[in-house]
């Protein structure tokens, strides 16, 4: 891990007033946020809250219109993703005409840090036929392949945009289980976004709550619910307060 000249390890994500504005308004208002290492972060908020925009800024797919963002100390740019970062977009894009094995070869050819044995192991664990065309796989299998592609890069930060959205409950459990096993054993910081907190409540230890492009709540789960309030209630409370404020204003 790269060490800065002053103190401590470099944060996976450090946003300082970073925001993204389109013609119709701010998709994500100027946001300051630190994501510490070795955490499982739930990025929660209703649809349109700015979750995907925040991920876009972290990956460098989007350029901030305000402020700055640093990923392991580097500014994201168009020159490919930071080698220590993997990203799985919401649509889980994969080349449908490639086989699973060819998809892994694609990962190997486009990432210097690729671990072929590890990626093959993940495919094997998922029980996905390696010779199958990606276009013929089920939603759950596709997610597992996309996850193997993301993890095979050996990232230290893994960004997953709504990874469970289009999965049935069984596949959801399997994907989440596999993901948490790998995150814990490899010491990866994982950021998962969802509009349903309940999906992530059991697995996350850090919460970022977004609402209409603003951060309502951010911090470690143990600190946020220190007084024993369940996380779900806490989130609902803040959302209601934000809604009430809007109606008042």
């Amino acid at each position: 891990m790269t060490m800065p000249s002053h103190a401590g390890p470099v944060l996976p994500v450090l946003a300082e007033g970073a925001g993204k504005r389109y013609r119709r308004g701010w998709a994500l208002g100027p946001t300051s946020l630190a994501i510490p290492g070795n955490r499982v972060v739930a990025l929660v908020g209703p649809n349109g809250a700015g979750k995907s925009t925040l991920m876009g800024l972290i990956t460098g797919l989007l350029r901030p219109t305000a402020g700055s963002i640093a990923v392991f100390g580097d500014r994201p740019n168009g020159r490919g993703l930071h080698p220590a970062v993997s990203y799985l977009a919401q649509q889980k894009p994969l080349y449908a005409q490639l086989t699973v094995a060819e998809t892994l070869t694609f990962g190997a050819r486009t990432n210097p840090t690729w671990d072929q044995r590890y990626a093959s192991y993940l495919i094997e664990q998922a029980g996905v036929p390696i010779t199958a065309k990606v276009g013929t796989l089920s939603g759950g299998q596709r997610t597992r392949v996309a996850l193997a592609l993301a993890l095979g890069k050996r990232p230290r930060l893994l960004l997953l945009d709504e990874p469970l959205a289009d999965l049935d409950p069984l596949a959801r459990e399997a994907v989440l289980g596999a993901l948490m096993t790998e995150a814990k054993s490899q010491g990866i910081t994982v950021v998962l976004s969802s509009h349903v907190l309940a999906e992530l409540e059991g697995v996350c230890d850090h919460l970022v709550l977004l609402h209409r492009g603003q951060i309502l709540l951010a911090g470690g789960v143990n600190l946020l619910s220190a007084n024993g309030t369940p996380l779900g209630e806490l989130v609902l409370h803040h959302m209601r307060a934000a809604a009430a404020q809007e109606t008042a204003a």
Binding site: T59, G60, L61, L62, R63, N77, G78, R79, G80, L81, P83, S86, Y87, A89, Q91, P93, L94, Y95, A96, Q97, L98, E102, T105, F106, G107, R109, T110, N111, P112, T113, K153
Partner: protein
């Protein structure tokens, strides 16, 4: 990345390979069959010199057998650029943008520029090779037909011009770049294919023969050389006075109208007409001709125009793809 580009272009590359192998084989066979046909019909002299050396019966039989094939081969070379633009250039980026797979490519440890360049090179270079090889083979075949083939119409014939020299390469570059650019801007494969087709056809039609005006013409006086018999292209005509100067068009028209309506009422013969013209000081008619030997210059201008468009479109494609939204 090169591996990935090859793998993702596999269908197009195999199609190109098939076109190359089958096309080249067929052209070589056709040429050798045609050479045999010319020899056996004793048309060798006719093919070499044309005109009086041709026995009309044998020539007609030969043309009935071969002229359609000549046309098909020429049309193939004419349409290859747009086929490449529509089926290889247009989907190249549009398909990725439509399916969202560009996000997959952009979030690996490969720069966008490298991704883009490897895709462009892997798609474009094989297509250009196929165009060049087939163009050469068609030219080789039609040259063997001599005056019996369409090359007798000269290098300025619009179809001959379109399949000659560097023009097919320039058209291919333009069509490919046009398809790629519209694909990146529209992000829709079908839109890109359709629009690239329409725009290419329109531009190609509008610009046919436009470069000819940049080629210097020769003035040929009618009595010296009958125009356009040697493959030259006549681009203008008029009359010269006794001093050898060009007579203004309005005057020469007025005089020739007057000479055509002879006072006797009967239309004058050719000699009478010319004599009448000379009386009014219009000594000789002339033609402005682009000699066949300077067709290469028009090809270079043509290539500069279409190649220039292609470079601009490719630069636009690169710019649009590199831009972080």
């Amino acid at each position: 990345m090169i591996w990935a580009s090859f793998r993702l272009q596999r269908v197009q590359l195999l199609t190109l390979l098939g076109v190359l192998v089958v096309g080249a084989g067929v052209l070589v066979l056709l040429r050798s069959n045609m050479v045999d046909a010319i020899t056996s019909a004793q048309l060798t002299q006719c093919a070499a010199r044309g005109g009086s050396a041709c026995a009309s019966d044998a020539q007609n039989v030969f043309l009935a057998d071969w002229s359609n094939l000549f046309q098909i081969a020429r049309i193939l070379i004419i349409v290859m650029p747009i086929l490449i633009g529509v089926f290889i250039g247009a989907p190249l980026f549009a398909q990725e943008l439509e399916n969202g797979t560009h996000v997959l490519a952009f979030t690996q440890s490969v720069s966008r520029t490298r991704w883009m360049l490897s895709k462009l090179v892997v798609a474009l270079v094989p297509a250009l090779v196929v165009v060049v090889v087939l163009q050469y083979l068609v030219w080789w075949w039609l040259t063997a037909a001599g005056t019996l083939g369409p090359r007798v119409n000269g290098a300025w014939n619009p179809v001959n011009f379109g399949i000659d020299h560097v023009s097919p390469i320039a058209y291919t570059l333009f069509a490919f770049a046009l398809g790629a650019f519209i694909g990146v801007v529209s992000r829709r494969t079908l839109v890109a294919m359709t629009a690239a087709f329409g725009v290419f056809v329109a531009v190609r039609f509008v610009l046919v023969g436009q470069v000819n005006r940049f080629v210097p013409s020769e003035r040929r006086v009618a009595v010296d050389a009958p125009a356009a018999r040697d493959g030259g292209l006549q681009v203008g005509s008029g009359w010269l006075d006794a001093a050898g100067l060009e007579v203004p068009r309005a005057r020469s028209l007025a005089v020739s109208d007057a000479c055509r309506t002879a006072p006797s009422g009967t239309p004058p013969g050719q000699e009478e007409f010319l004599a009448c013209m000379r009386e009014s000081g219009l000594m000789n008619s002339y033609a402005l001709v682009l000699p066949e030997s300077s067709a290469w210059l028009a090809h270079l201008y043509d290539a500069a125009i279409f190649g220039g468009f292609a470079v601009l479109l490719l630069a636009g494609t690169v710019w649009a793809l590199r831009r972080q939204s």
